[in-house]
């Protein structure tokens, strides 16, 4: 069973790794940016598995053999594309990365980062052993749906039959279909699958933030960013709770990280594979819409934010070109989401509620805005479950260290901040317009939706603040 579990989870991730390596800009060697590719493969692999499983289920009915064939059908072109890239890049000069000697600070930060990740993993394990089925939303919605898809055979569409709508039949299926796909490949059900999903997404989120900031702002800054994220108790706690906010948070920060990484490359208009990060950003963006409905808001936020930031700086043509390349990765996943929404999903109960006050009544009720604003401020101050206020700590750190944004990064940083701002406004308005009891809805959801944005916020924050090396070097300059 353990071997089957490992194989069922590993197989799609290896496929995703090959695909990611195939579109990776620059060097096509496997070892190049290996860790980042691995972290991205975790989300992309499970997303890919979930899409393939859902399409196979919807078009041909449940079949283990069919699923294996469908996966093989994805693996073969992935390998072919990768081999093509290897051959076409054969003559390209492959510069060896010269490793600088490790500084004392890097050594200390590396050790502390490893301790922080180990602590997060241990916390995750203790909580998962205690509650292997996850918390309320996990067993009531996502794992229940996974069981339904896996157990129902040809009657799997009954999942969308219940008229009351408490199971959120409009929610996309990345996690339930991913879990059911693994069970199908394994030939049996085990809670180890959703637990492993939670663990992988938790670690991959830390990994993406750590490596991306390391590549963009230096190793020490990356270690510090990764450490702060790993030490945010909400991350392993909600990961172990098997809430989909952690996978969504992963896709959000992976999308932003890939947009930032693209700008480290020289702009080469006519070479498709030099825009590989944008293609991958499109894939991650697509998977965010397949994870939760909030992903659709993120899609809009990204397009609007990049328009506002990019058009004045680089022109409409550059924006259009970026959008087209992002679309290469985005559209295939969006088609799956669209198919699901059109054929199976019921109307969203938040947008079209069967209960509660009317739309305009809520929109014009100022007291609702104050209640939500108060909740945002209060939660913002205590967010993360730190022993002291995490927000205050980061503000203090920002004031002490100061800002330092790379010239090349300014447009991207502005775009990311606008995107995160739109997300916050969206969440704010969703609560204002909530058809549920407002205080109850805030109490059960606010810290989780903020967690969706937290990895992205940490990513952008550490791309903006001065690195420890810069700050200490500046002080040395001042002393001379």
């Amino acid at each position: 069973m353990t071997l089957r579990l490992i194989l069922s989870i590993l197989a799609p991730q290896i496929t995703a790794f090959i695909l990611i390596s195939a579109v990776w800009p620059g060097q096509t060697r496997i070892r190049s940016h290996f860790l980042l590719k691995c972290c991205l493969s975790i989300g992309a692999g499970l997303g890919l598995l979930s899409c393939v499983y859902f399409l196979q289920l919807a078009l041909f009915g449940p079949s283990r053999k069919g699923l294996v064939i469908a996966l093989v059908a994805v693996v073969i072109p992935a390998i072919a594309l990768f081999v093509y890239r290897l051959r076409s890049n054969k003559d390209a000069s492959q510069s060896e990365c010269i490793r600088e000697p490790i500084s004392r600070m890097e050594l200390i930060l590396s050790v502390l980062f490893i301790v922080a990740v180990a602590s997060a993993v241990a916390t995750f394990v203790f909580l998962s052993v205690r509650e292997p089925h996850g918390e309320w939303d996990a067993w009531a919605v996502y794992n229940m749906k996974a069981r339904f898809l896996f157990r129902a055979g040809n009657d799997w569409r009954d999942l969308f039959r219940e008229p009351t709508g408490w199971t959120s039949p409009d929610y996309p299926l990345l996690i339930p279909a991913g879990i059911a796909a693994c069970w199908t490949l394994m030939g049996g059900e085990t809670v180890a699958v959703p637990i492993t999903f939670g663990m992988l997404f938790t670690i991959a989120t830390i990994g993406v933030v750590y490596i991306s900031v390391s590549l963009l702002r230096g190793k020490n800054q990356g270690l510090l960013a990764g450490l702060i994220l790993a030490c945010t108790p909400f991350l392993p706690i909600h990961g172990a709770n098997q809430y989909t906010d952690v996978p969504l948070g992963f896709f959000l920060c992976a999308t932003l990280a890939l947009f930032h990484l693209q700008d480290t490359l020289p702009e080469q208009t006519y070479r498709f594979f030099e825009h590989g990060f944008l293609v991958l950003a499109g894939v991650m963006l697509g998977f965010s819409t397949w994870t939760k409905n909030e992903g659709v808001l993120f899609l809009v936020a990204i397009f609007v934010a990049r328009f506002v930031a990019l058009v004045p700086a680089k022109g409409l043509k550059s924006y259009g070109r970026q959008l087209a390349i992002v679309g290469v990765g985005l559209v295939p996943v969006l088609l799956v989401v669209f198919y699901f929404k059109v054929t199976l999903a019921t109307p969203n109960r938040m947008l079209f509620p069967p209960q509660g006050p009317g739309f305009f009544e809520k929109l014009l009720d100022t007291s609702r805005y104050w209640i939500v604003l108060n909740a945002f401020v209060t939660e913002g101050l205590v967010f993360g479950k730190w022993v002291v206020s995490l927000t205050a700590c980061l503000l203090f750190y920002l004031l002490l260290i100061g800002l330092s944004i790379n010239q090349k990064e300014v447009t991207n940083v502005v775009a990311s901040l606008i995107a995160l701002g739109i997300m916050l406004i969206g969440y704010f308005m969703a609560l204002v317009m909530s058809p549920l009891d407002l205080s109850g809805h805030i109490a059960t959801s606010l810290n989780r939706v903020l967690l969706q944005l937290w990895p992205s916020f940490i990513l952008v924050f550490f791309l903006m603040v001065r690195t420890p090396d810069q700050a200490l070097a500046r002080s040395e300059v001042l002393s001379h």
């Binding site: 052993v129 205690r130 009351t164 022993v387």
Partner: protein, 149 residues
């Protein structure tokens, strides 16, 4: 003055890391405190209550559900324990659809009110005829099944 600046930077970084690691440690200790033995968690025990009734239910389709604390016309106004019992029943019995709508041939009655489900998991099944020609099977652990002809 310049010395002060460098020290301030170092202290700032150290404090940030210190509070981060302290928070992580506190979270780890709290998680360890609630750590229990695998298989003895609430939901696994809760699911065992349905071992007996499974034999009387179809594998698929739709069955009725009734339980304490459920508001049948506006389910979102049900109390938390009532909702939890309904949702856990659905989680346990999926892919059977467990509905609080009426007129079903089979209706599950689940009255635990959040009590420890392990207490009476192995009770015997007793049958009782109801006035309207229906039959009620009592599984002795808060779970009953009403079978309407």
């Amino acid at each position: 003055m310049t010395f002060d600046y460098q020290v301030r930077i170092r202290i700032g970084i150290c404090l940030l890391i210190f509070f981060a690691l302290l928070s992580s440690l506190e979270s780890l200790i709290n998680a360890y405190k609630v750590y229990g033995v695998s298989g003895a968690d609430y939901i696994t025990r809760y699911e065992k209550r349905f071992d007996e009734i499974r034999g009387f239910l179809p594998a698929r389709g739709i069955v009725g559900y009734a339980g304490e604390g459920i508001n049948y016309t506006e389910y979102w106004k049900s109390d938390a324990v009532g909702l939890q019992n309904w949702f856990l029943t659905q989680y346990t019995l999926a892919p059977l659809v467990v509905s609080i709508t009426t007129n079903h041939k089979l209706t599950i009655i689940n009255n635990t009110q959040g009590g420890d489900p392990i207490v009476s998991e192995n009770a015997e099944v007793t049958a009782r005829d109801l006035a309207n020609g229906a039959q009620m099977l009592d599984f002795g652990n808060g779970i009953k099944l009403v079978v309407t002809q």
